[in-house]
């Protein structure tokens, strides 16, 4: 019976979905609990004695506006810069023929395979020498050397028939014009989804900012979290959850608003080898 079969799938999918969404509900619920309730009834999704005390405390202890602004700027700058440079480079790799093209592409793409720990120490020294430590520029800069954008956008560009570009060349259009007015609109889903991925990754970046940022006013949101986590003094779980919720709320809300667009963008961007 087909209907039953479909129902079975829905049960399975629903279960999987629950597993992936419950932690979020769990975080939100516990952020409104008092610590003792969280310890003793971690389970309930509706706090017995709801309190916004955790949030008030976080707001009083952190310049949250500043921190959110920092996070935004880091993510936005990284996203814009990476998307623009990736599109430019990808265009050159697809539509130009020049000596060393394949070697250069190979080298750039190979960097995807370099673990961040390889470049961590020297980059730390570089950023310090440039005077960008404890500065969000120091957080942004090393992120920019990311070849995934070049890869993804190049793959998308390869699906555009060459004849389109040739037609534009006959019209005497310059390459930047072709890139901006023909190529990018055609591969918009791939570019936008790459940008969204950049934004999300940058927003949540943790390891590197921990090394670079020192002052609360320069923090990004994921760093704010570890202000409330201490092995020795214990982690105030409910406060940590409040900060977690604050950290995820903006990407979450943005996602919920634009989910239709984001999902269709991602699915139609299709990484075509």
């Amino acid at each position: 019976m087909r209907i039953d079969r479909e129902a079975q799938w829905h049960i399975l999918l629903g279960g999987a979905l629950l597993l992936s969404l419950l932690p979020i509900a769990f975080a939100i619920a516990n952020s409104f609990k008092e610590l003792s309730e969280a310890y003793n009834n971690v389970f309930s999704l509706i706090p017995e004695h709801p309190t916004i005390g955790n949030y008030l405390l976080v707001f009083s202890r952190l310049p949250l506006g500043q921190i959110t602004a920092n996070t935004f700027m880091v993510a936005l700058a990284a996203t814009v810069f990476k998307t623009v440079t990736s599109a430019l480079a990808a265009y050159a790799f697809v539509y130009f023929d020049f000596r060393g093209k394949n070697v250069l592409y190979f080298i750039l793409i190979s960097t995807i395979f370099i673990p961040f720990t390889v470049t961590m120490i020297p980059n730390y020294l570089t950023i310090s020498q440039l005077g960008f430590r404890n500065n969000i520029i120091g957080v942004i800069l090393p992120q920019l050397s990311d070849a995934t954008g070049i890869f993804l956008i190049r793959q998308a560009m390869r699906t555009i028939p060459r004849s389109l570009i040739e037609a534009a060349r006959i019209e005497q259009a310059g390459h930047l014009k072709i890139l901006a007015s023909i190529v990018l609109p055609l591969i918009r889903p791939a570019v936008v989804s790459t940008g969204i991925m950049f934004f999300i990754n940058s927003w949540n970046e943790y390891v590197w900012p921990v090394l670079i940022l020192k002052d609360k006013v320069n923090y990004t949101l994921p760093l704010a979290l570890q202000l409330f986590i201490s092995s020795e003094g214990g982690t105030d779980f409910t406060i940590a959850m409040a900060v977690s919720v604050i950290t995820m709320i903006i990407p979450l809300v943005l996602y919920l608003i634009f989910q239709r667009y984001i999902i269709s963008t991602f699915t139609s961007s299709g990484v075509k080898g």
Partner: protein
């Protein structure tokens, strides 16, 4: 050099500049450091030649870490490549209702920070008093102390990573799979081809370009993603059972301050990854079905 070539380099230049400063230079510097014994602050770096590499090869810990790395790769491939692949297939061709809802919902956790996820899961999976343990207890099951159990700890840390990575991989794979025309699947259904054969014989090969991308990304980025839960949850323990190649470099470099040794280890890790890259070029660029 022709004008066109110059122009091409002009297009690549912005990327190249950043890469030169924050990728190639540090890479070379790390190679350089790998031949020294140094702790980042000693005024003199002691040249040891291949010493770090030899020490690395002789250290039994290296093999533990590599074995763990391999275990992570296998588990991550199952959870973050195979599983989302199958899910994307089910959503594309098996079920008829609720597709859009599932797509949105499964993607949702991937916008959230992995640090947040790690802390959440540390509580949720607390084997004594977390919700999972409470439910298990209700059914008379005792959850093993995973954070201190060899083998299990890798699985659980991978699951935490999966929570974050799954959505992105899933949606990209979904995009790849939707490139397979509905009629092709219907043709197979009419021929009474079982679902698993449709997946293996038709969908997998026809979406392999996307599949290989996710496959490679799962290995390369998955191992780096796992770093966060390792650092937040276990610090590589128990007895290095959850450490992987990436974490071990961090541990050696930033906890024990064996900068030279850590550099050597990082280089070895990178070489392993590059071997994977060569495989990628061999398979992605050839023998893969392209739509065009």
């Amino acid at each position: 050099m022709s004008g066109n070539a110059l122009l091409a380099y002009g297009f690549i230049l912005p990327s190249l500049l950043v890469f030169a400063v924050f990728m190639f230079y540090p890479l070379l510097y790390t190679v350089y450091l790998s031949f020294f014994e140094w702790n980042m602050i000693k005024p003199v770096k002691a040249f040891v030649g291949w010493g770090n590499y030899i020490a690395l090869l002789q250290d039994p810990l290296t093999y533990v870490v590599l074995k763990n790395t391999f275990a992570y790769i296998v588990i991550l491939l199952l959870l973050n490549c195979a599983a989302p692949y199958i899910l994307a297939f089910i959503l594309s061709f098996v079920i008829r209702r609720g597709r859009d809802f599932y797509k949105s919902a499964f993607f949702l956790p991937s916008v959230i920070s992995l640090v947040v996820g790690s802390i959440l899961y540390l509580w949720i999976l607390n084997p004594i008093s977390g919700p999972v343990a409470i439910i298990a207890k209700f059914f008379g099951i005792t959850i093993p102390v995973w954070s201190k159990t060899q083998g299990l700890v890798i699985g659980v840390l991978s699951i935490i990573t999966t929570w974050k990575v799954f959505g992105y991989n899933f949606i990209v794979l979904f995009g790849g799979i939707t490139g397979v025309p509905q009629e092709v699947i219907e043709a197979a259904k009419i021929d009474n081809v079982p679902l698993h054969r449709i997946f293996l014989d038709i969908v997998l090969p026809m979406s392999s370009a996307t599949g290989v991308y996710i496959f490679i990304m799962t290995i390369v980025q998955g191992l780096q993603y796992v770093f966060t839960p390792i650092k937040v949850v276990t610090q590589g323990g128990p007895d290095n059972a959850s450490s992987n190649a990436i974490y071990n470099v961090y541990q050696e470099g930033f906890t024990l301050y064996h900068t030279g040794y850590a550099s050597a280890f990082a280089i070895v890790t990178m070489v392993l990854f590059v071997v994977l890259l060569l495989a990628e070029f061999k398979y992605v660029e050839k023998g893969i079905y392209y739509e065009n």
